[in-house]
């Protein structure tokens, strides 16, 4: 393969084994969301919620591993989620699903950039705009222009930093403070964190299964990695990724308890700046800050790369026949434009804590059944299958204005599942009739 071949940008030069596959997926999945949602989960749903968050993340990855094996068997020679959707859907269905993918991609990129913005504002003394500009330029060179090979080079460093931070910092703190004072402090100021019979937490865990699983099912970057991992190792790689990933939010929760014991706090995001203030050793401060930014940068770069690939390979190429050079040109233009948009939007909107948990939960819950149907069925599926995800998501959003979040997510899932089941039953009956005739 030539060095400037566009295929190299999409897939890199080598097939990944389990170890590199896990590293690449961890770099994608330890995101700003993981870091920023951990305190939110801990504060809202207590220790049980924190543990549940980790376990559900692991479960989603393990479940996706089963599907990944099947996808690799049924769709050899493909590279992106768009390639598979093009094979399995009608043109209208394909464009609808691509719209959903592009929208969720932009939302996810925006959340990452916003997360980076919040942390830059909290931690660094430099002007916020300059910090964000540097951060997004770095992401552009890694994910936008660099391609899969560059992403893998950064992934190794990123995962090393993740483990260094989540192992060293909690151990350092608990050795310094001891567990008893932390327990007493939490019992006094935040006793709700220690409640076990927390039904809200169980509902949260139950709902998180839908949201996380839906999220990984339509994650462009995970699909791309699935196609470059050695076929016989795909399932094992996703299983191990899930198990190893689960250890990170667990460690982050234990770390955050250090910050909140014995006092109150302003909001969940201020916990990070307080944590930085609490860390006495300058080496550990540097380690923590580098860990946070490296995680967000690698996740944002992976998302940017996957979205750019989706745009060039599955949108542009549907309209024009592109030469290799043109593909590169559009890649630079698109990823540059996305970075610029993110810079402008995040700069204009003053960074403010977002409701990260389940903000797009309805969409993720609604796509589960249609995507499962697409993966597990044979032949081309009618427009109603992808459209059911749209109906489900809209139904959930309408309902959510009248009731609490969780029920809206369940409703989104139920609507799309019922529609898909109806299509399945209809197809089975008509097929039987044709056979009888």
């Amino acid at each position: 393969m030539k060095k400037n071949d566009y295929q190299l940008y999409i897939s890199g030069a080598i097939k990944l084994g389990v170890s590199f596959g896990v590293v690449s997926l961890l770099a994608r999945w330890v995101t700003g969301n993981t870091i920023l949602s951990s305190p939110e989960t801990l504060i809202k749903y207590g220790l049980i919620g924190g543990i549940g968050y980790s376990l559900v993340g692991a479960l989603s990855s393990i479940l996706f591993g089963f599907l990944a094996k099947k996808i690799r068997e049924n769709h050899p020679g493909q590279h992106t989620i768009g390639d598979v959707l093009r094979q399995k859907l009608t043109p209208n269905g394909y464009w609808l699903m691509l719209t959903v993918l592009i929208l969720t991609s932009f939302h996810s990129l925006f959340v990452q950039a916003m997360g980076a913005g919040i942390l830059i504002q909290m931690i660094f003394p430099i002007p916020y705009f300059i910090g964000l500009l540097l951060f997004l330029t770095f992401c552009f060179f890694i994910g936008g222009a660099g391609g899969m090979q560059r992403l893998h080079q950064v992934a190794g460093v990123n995962v090393t930093l993740i483990f260094a931070a989540v192992i060293i910092i909690p151990v350092y703190f608990y050795i310094q403070e001891g567990v008893y004072p932390v327990y007493d402090g939490i019992k006094l100021y935040h006793p709700y964190l220690l409640y076990i019979k927390n039904t809200d937490a169980f509902w949260f865990i139950f709902t998180a299964i839908f949201v996380f699983f839906g999220q990984i099912l339509i994650d462009r970057a995970s699909w791309q990695r699935m196609f470059i991992i050695q076929k016989e190792k795909v399932q094992l790689t996703f299983t191990l990724t899930g198990l190893i990933w689960a250890t990170i939010p667990l460690a982050l929760s234990s770390l955050l308890m250090i910050t909140i014991f014995g006092r109150s706090f302003e909001n969940v995001y201020s916990l990070f700046s307080e944590l930085v203030n609490r860390i006495q050793s300058s080496i550990l401060i540097v380690l923590f800050v580098v860990f946070v930014f490296s995680s967000i940068a690698s996740a944002l770069s992976a998302e940017l790369h996957a979205t750019t690939t989706l745009f060039v390979k599955n949108i542009m190429e549907m309209f024009f026949t592109l030469t290799n050079d043109e593909k590169w040109k559009y890649t630079y233009l698109f990823s540059g434009a996305v970075c610029l948009c993110l810079l402008v939007i995040v700069s204009i909107l003053t960074p403010s804590p977002l409701t990260l948990l389940f903000f797009t939960g309805n969409i993720y819950a609604a796509v589960i059944s249609p995507i499962l149907y697409i993966i597990l069925s044979k032949g081309v599926l009618p427009f109603i299958v992808p459209f059911s995800s749209f109906i489900g998501a809209i139904g959930g959003y309408i309902f959510v204005t009248r009731t609490e979040d969780f029920k809206g997510i369940w409703l989104s899932f139920t609507i799309s599942t019922v529609l898909c089941l109806l299509v399945l039953i209809y197809k089975t009956i008509t097929r039987k009739n044709i056979k009888l005739l």
């Binding site: 170890s19 220790l47 689960a246």
Partner: protein, 249 residues
């Protein structure tokens, strides 16, 4: 409410599990390639052992004096009849057949190569059987570069000669079909039922065990099978194995 003991346990687990994750990754980085290499070596050794057995069986079964002397006699008659062109062609084919047989040490070859070899064999059999033998091939052009184990079609065809055409007089029809179905290759070798032939499926079935074993070794993750199907108008052998192009190896 969580007790202090449970809280301590929770903190201990939360602080230690990342260590476990890091060790798992480290272990994979150090040993994954070695484990892969060991698995590959074990498979290769088993495959080579099976190939040796196959080669031994091939030589035993095929270069038997019966086949060899009959072929030589047929070539001799061509010389006596002064049919020089056919004579040269048959000696050349016999030479190529023997060369291929003795030189094949690979654990897999392409279907194209296997067909070339089978054609040499059938050309020689045509000299022996003359107008009695009718054979045809139906090959999906997409499968030419797919890999298979050496001597697979050859063994099926030889079985047809050994258990049917050479034992009983009458017209000999042989049909070989190779097609791609979904993600598999289906190879079918059919021979007509010769009048007076007895049921020999058990004897033939035993000869297919080596093929089944070698297919399983070459395609450890894929679905493979070899079936002997008897019907009123003939006997066919069907082998199924995954479609993998030689360029993908």
């Amino acid at each position: 409410m969580l007790t202090v003991e449970a809280f301590s346990l929770n903190i201990m687990i939360a602080a230690l599990v990342p260590l476990l994750g890091a060790f798992t990754l480290l272990f994979l980085f150090i040993f994954e390639k070695r484990i892969d290499l060991l698995e590959k070596k074990t498979r290769e050794i088993a495959l080579e052992r099976e190939l040796q057995t196959a080669l031994y069986n091939q030589l035993n079964q095929e270069i038997q004096p019966h086949f060899f002397f009959n072929t030589l006699n047929s070539i001799l008659s061509l010389a006596r009849l002064d049919r020089k062109t056919e004579l040269i062609r048959s000696i050349e084919t016999l030479s190529k057949l023997l060369k291929f047989k003795y030189q094949t040490n690979n654990t897999f070859i392409t279907i194209d190569e296997e067909i070339t070899y089978v054609n040499y064999y059938l050309e020689i059999q045509k000299i022996r059987f003359r107008d009695r033998l009718h054979y045809e091939f139906s090959i999906d052009p997409n499968v030419n570069q797919a890999i298979t184990i050496p001597f697979i079609i050859q063994t099926f065809i030889e079985n047809a000669f050994k258990h049917s055409f050479e034992r009983y007089v009458g017209e000999a029809f042989l049909k070989t079909t190779i097609e791609k179905r979904d993600k598999d290759i289906h190879i079918t070798v059919w021979n007509n039922a010769v009048e007076g032939a007895e049921e020999l499926s058990r004897e033939r079935g035993l000869g297919l065990v080596n093929i089944t074993k070698r297919l399983e070794l070459l395609f450890p993750d894929g679905k493979t099978s070899v079936q002997l199907i008897n019907s009123d108008n003939g006997t066919s052998v069907l082998a199924i194995f995954p479609f993998i192009l030689s360029s993908e190896i």
